[in-house]
């Protein structure tokens, strides 16, 4: 009896998952592996092989990695500082970092476009100060900047949480056993935050790899990421089969990256120490 009730309670969620996640996923697999007549084919996946698309995939991987790396380097020290501060200040600063997320991400990227444009706010200011202009709009630099700006909080919070969870006495124990601040950080604090970094990296890398909004607004039509290529297949070309085939390829890359992360999440701590 009791068990049945539990199953009933999970019903809405199961329905949601099935209707909006599993079935669409199966549809992508179906479209990706068939042609317009419905016959099995691998040609949709092979479509990824054109130089232009490979270039977009490569650029996507590169920019996502760079953005993830910079987010990590920026977020870790910040999280350390936040953890060191008193409780009230922490709440305040974390809020400051979360507030941008209250605004629609599209709007924020649009704001960056206005800032970075050739005659945008930044360049007007630079010209006024007789400084050289910033010409990064419609370049990969602007896209990386947009990614970092958009996804930094997703890196900050898991690392901050991991640091917060470390018992002060564990750190004191390291000092007590003779470690100096440097040794305490590298041998105790850093390894204990590996799981936080892993989730931060996943939460930045995956959306960065698949984004097409950021590259649309900050890359113009000049810089194409794999997200844009796939989006166009659906919205402009109208070829769902090829679009799905390329989505499958991208999914494989995401699964590989997650598997790598998972591996480090489990054994990472010890490996860093030894």
């Amino acid at each position: 009896m009791k068990k049945q009730k539990h199953v009933l309670l999970s019903g809405p969620y199961l329905f949601w998952t099935a209707a909006f996640i599993i079935i669409p996923l199966l549809m992508i697999v179906y479209y990706g592996l068939t042609d317009t007549s419905g016959a099995f084919t691998l040609s949709n996946i092979a479509q990824m092989g054109t130089p232009e698309r490979l270039k977009a995939l490569w650029l996507s991987l590169l920019l996502s990695l760079i953005a993830t790396g910079i987010c990590l380097v920026m977020a870790y020290p910040l999280a350390l500082i936040l953890t060191g501060t008193k409780v009230n200040a922490t709440g305040f600063i974390v809020t400051i970092f979360i507030i941008p997320m209250w605004m629609n991400s599209l709007l924020r990227i649009l704001a960056w476009q206005t800032l970075l444009e050739r005659n945008g706010v930044i360049n007007v200011a630079l010209r006024f100060l007789h400084l050289p202009e910033l010409r990064i709009i419609n370049t990969p630099y602007a896209i990386a900047l947009g990614m970092i700006y958009d996804f930094l909080p997703f890196m900050l919070l898991p690392i901050y949480n991991a640091l917060e969870k470390i018992d002060q006495n564990v750190i004191n124990a390291a000092y007590d056993l003779g470690a100096n601040r440097f040794q305490t950080f590298w041998k105790v604090i850093f390894p204990l935050t590996v799981p936080g970094m892993i989730s931060g990296i996943t939460m930045v890398f995956v959306p960065a790899l698949t984004t097409f909004v950021i590259s649309d607004f900050l890359g113009g039509s000049k810089v194409l990421l794999i997200g844009n290529v796939i989006e166009r297949q659906f919205t402009q070309v109208g070829d769902w089969n090829v679009g799905s085939g390329m989505s499958l390829v991208l999914m494989v890359f995401i699964l590989i990256s997650m598997a790598v992360m998972q591996h480090y999440d489990k054994s990472g701590g010890e490996q860093v120490v030894l």
Partner: protein, 379 residues
């Protein structure tokens, strides 16, 4: 137990304007098992943290082995701490945890392996080298925390309520384990707890504290049998604490009745505090419907009088079986007495109660200055 190893002089410490320790003085001898005992917030943990180097006193000095270590960083001190809730490094194996301090000190691999084996043997956890801390029980984790501290051969081991998170049986086992460890290692243990039973079982010396002030320093026997004030008496074990009047030497009036006692030197007609342990209250049952004059009533009175000329008549109001003894509440002369006895007296039954003169403990009333420190605080 000879020379002073640690000397804390005039230590004052406050947090956010709240004074936790005020001109605190204490010395600790070599090879002593000293326990700081008191309710939470009494400053005992702050003392340990000052010794460990995790807090700096606002005023005062800490002398360790003849040297002033007040400003020495925690990682430079020759003492190690066993923290509450173990504080093991959860990302390292047991062997790596134990080796941590030794690796920092750049000891040879051979020496480290030897020490790990030795320490695990000492805490009865041989073969646990490859395990992760999460896979151990609370008691095992605590023993690893002790092993991790002692491989560094500290002169002093600081223990901050190390058994607080363990269940009763495990706590008792660990108490014996700690005594054995201390004897085998021959080093000084400074132990912080709010558990009076733990303190009585293990310590050479107990320091009873309340609100940052030392209430009494002494052996467990001293503290239990001769509490210096009502706070100590109340905190160490169960007790009946009453106001009384010292009529003259060896005669005290409690609740309007005069009892023989053995203490003297409290003046005459002076107000005092009286402590009587529940196991020292003797009961003599009065048969139902028997009043003064009846043979059975007078017989009970006579038996009570053999112990002490003074006696009170009361009624048993509560009765609980505690295993070794019965715990009873007896209402007599408007006071609820706590009584422990191996004999059962039924609820509602009338009793005479009295005490051996030797078991009536007389204490001076606290001076008004100290009254704040004597305020009772429940833990």
């Amino acid at each position: 137990m000879s020379n002073r190893l640690i000397d804390m002089q005039h230590i004052t410490k406050s947090f956010d304007g709240q004074t936790v320790l005020d001109d605190f003085n204490l010395y600790i001898r070599e090879n002593e098992f000293l326990t700081l005992l008191g309710p939470s917030g009494c400053g005992k943990t702050t003392i340990l943290r000052i010794l460990g180097g995790f807090e700096k006193p606002d005023k005062g000095r800490v002398i360790f082995d003849g040297k002033d270590i007040t400003d020495l960083a925690a990682n430079k001190r020759q003492l190690n701490t066993v923290f509450q809730k173990y504080a093991l490094f959860s990302h390292m194996t047991i062997a790596e945890n134990i080796a941590f301090g030794l690796k920092i000190r750049k000891k040879s691999e051979e020496y480290i392996q030897d020490k790990i084996r030795y320490a695990l043997k000492l805490v009865n956890l041989e073969g646990f080298e490859k395990r992760m801390p999460d896979s151990l029980s609370g008691g095992q984790q605590q023993r690893i925390a002790i092993a991790r501290a002692i491989v560094n051969e500290p002169k002093v081991l600081l223990l901050d309520e190390p058994l607080g998170a363990l269940d009763l049986k495990m706590r008792q086992d660990m108490q014996y384990e700690l005594i054995r460890l201390k004897n085998e290692l021959g080093i000084t243990f400074i132990y912080v707890t709010h558990d009076q039973e733990e303190a009585l079982t293990m310590s050479d010396t107990i320091v009873v504290m309340n609100q940052g002030y030392i209430q009494q320093i002494g052996t467990p026997e001293d503290i239990y049998n001769e509490p210096q004030n009502a706070f100590v008496a109340d905190f160490i074990g169960d007790s009946n604490i009453l106001g009384g009047i010292m009529i003259q030497d060896k005669l005290v009036e409690i609740l309007g009745m005069r009892f023989d006692c053995v203490d003297s030197g409290f003046g005459s007609n002076n107000p005092v505090d009286v402590v009587i342990r529940p196991e020292d209250v003797k009961l003599f049952s009065i048969p139902d419907n028997e009043g003064p004059g009846s043979a059975e009533y007078e017989d009970a009175a006579a038996r009570a009088a053999k112990l002490n000329p003074g006696r009170l008549e009361g009624v048993v109001t509560h009765l609980i079986f505690k295993g070794v003894h019965y715990e009873m509440t007896v209402e007599a002369a408007g006071f609820e007495w706590l009584v422990h006895s191996t004999r059962m007296f039924p609820v509602g039954g009338r009793v005479f109660m009295t005490m051996d003169p030797f078991n009536i403990q007389i204490m001076n009333k606290p001076e008004s200055d100290d009254e704040k420190a004597l305020e009772f605080e429940t833990i």
